[in-house]
Amino acid sequence: MKGPTHTRLDRRTVISGVLFGSGIAASIIDLFIFHLALQWHHFYDLLTTEVALTADGFFHAFGWFITVWGLFLLADIRRRTEVPWTRWSGAVITGVGFFQLLDGVVSHKILGIHQIRYGVDLLLYDVVWIGSAVLLLLIGVLMLHRTRPARVPA
């Protein structure tokens, strides 16, 4: 009886962390750091194509949705069992890295939704952005690997 429930809760812990991590990368990091604090990229740069604008709208809607979803999943795990916080944190870091990588490659480079910053040589920014994303992703995956639950012998 214990095995399947544990697997389900463990999967839920990882999903919760990845959703929350991707969500805060999409909504909170981008909004508060790059839009409001640094003002590197803006609400809307007027150069974005209609396709990119539409894609951006969906990214945006998903961002808040998965942030809240991840937190409610965490609350659900918490009312059922002890939360494995290190494992959850590893999943969050994986989520942040994953989203930053997706954002850096797909929305900045492929779709051209907006650039990281305007009026500067972008290469350095792109390298730092994508490099830090890959690094976070690796750290997160490593943490998930080290905290993986022991196999319950059948």
């Binding site: 609400f43 007027l46 974005t48 539409t54 951006d56 949705f65 809240v68 409610f72 659900d76 009312r79």
Partner: protein, 276 residues
Amino acid sequence: MDHREGHHHTGEGALPAEEMLGWAVFDVVVLLVLLAGALGYVLALWAARERSPWARHRTFFWHLGLACAAAGLLGPVATAAHSSFTAHMLGHLLLGMLAPLLLVLGAPVTLALRALPPAAARRLSRVLRSPVVRVLTHPVIAAAVNAGGLWLLYTTELYPLMHSSAVVHALVHGHILLTGYIFTASIIGVDPDPHRASMKLRSVMLILFIAAHSILAKWLYAHPPQGVEVGDGQSGAQLMYYGGDAVDIVLIVLLFAGWYSATRPRGLDAAGVRGR
């Protein structure tokens, strides 16, 4: 109420008498409808006073919702909305997003079912189960009608027309409040809903709606409606984007809060505390 100054963009002086009358009638009708809403709720509370106690926050939310609608339709915001797109957008957020959310949380249908005599309550629940209500309150239809109305309003000549005709103005605002209410109720409604859609469908429709709202806001930033100056159009669009987000986040939280309490494991009490 001296309401309509600065309303003609061309500033051609006093309005014709019958047009003034139209706007005055609009104000009076709005006031009467909102007062009827407040009074009706209080009467229903009184009629159901013998029953189990009614959560006080519901009463509070309902009346706050009516106050938001009033603030969006009458008074300084509404006056400024005739010449300022930004003020129009503030009124729109109050009337189309915040008021519907608060009114839905007031659970008027639940209260009506408690207050009405049994025969009338049965008739009401029969109406709620009818196919027409089923279609109108389906999240896909409700979201399409709500977002579609917004696109029509801001991308056609409806926007300038709304400011020159009291009747069009009344219809547009009635539509905004009503579709806002039905959409919100279809997603996070606390009233009994015999046709409640699945969590998955409600999630998808909420995401689509948020996306449509934010795309429209950015589109308006670049293409302000007819007769709106660029700076005014931009600040109005930003208000729509960020203000809409604030309400949308509340909607997402309430959607998941509903899921959270519905999936409560056995052995936990309502507060989610593990009982031993």
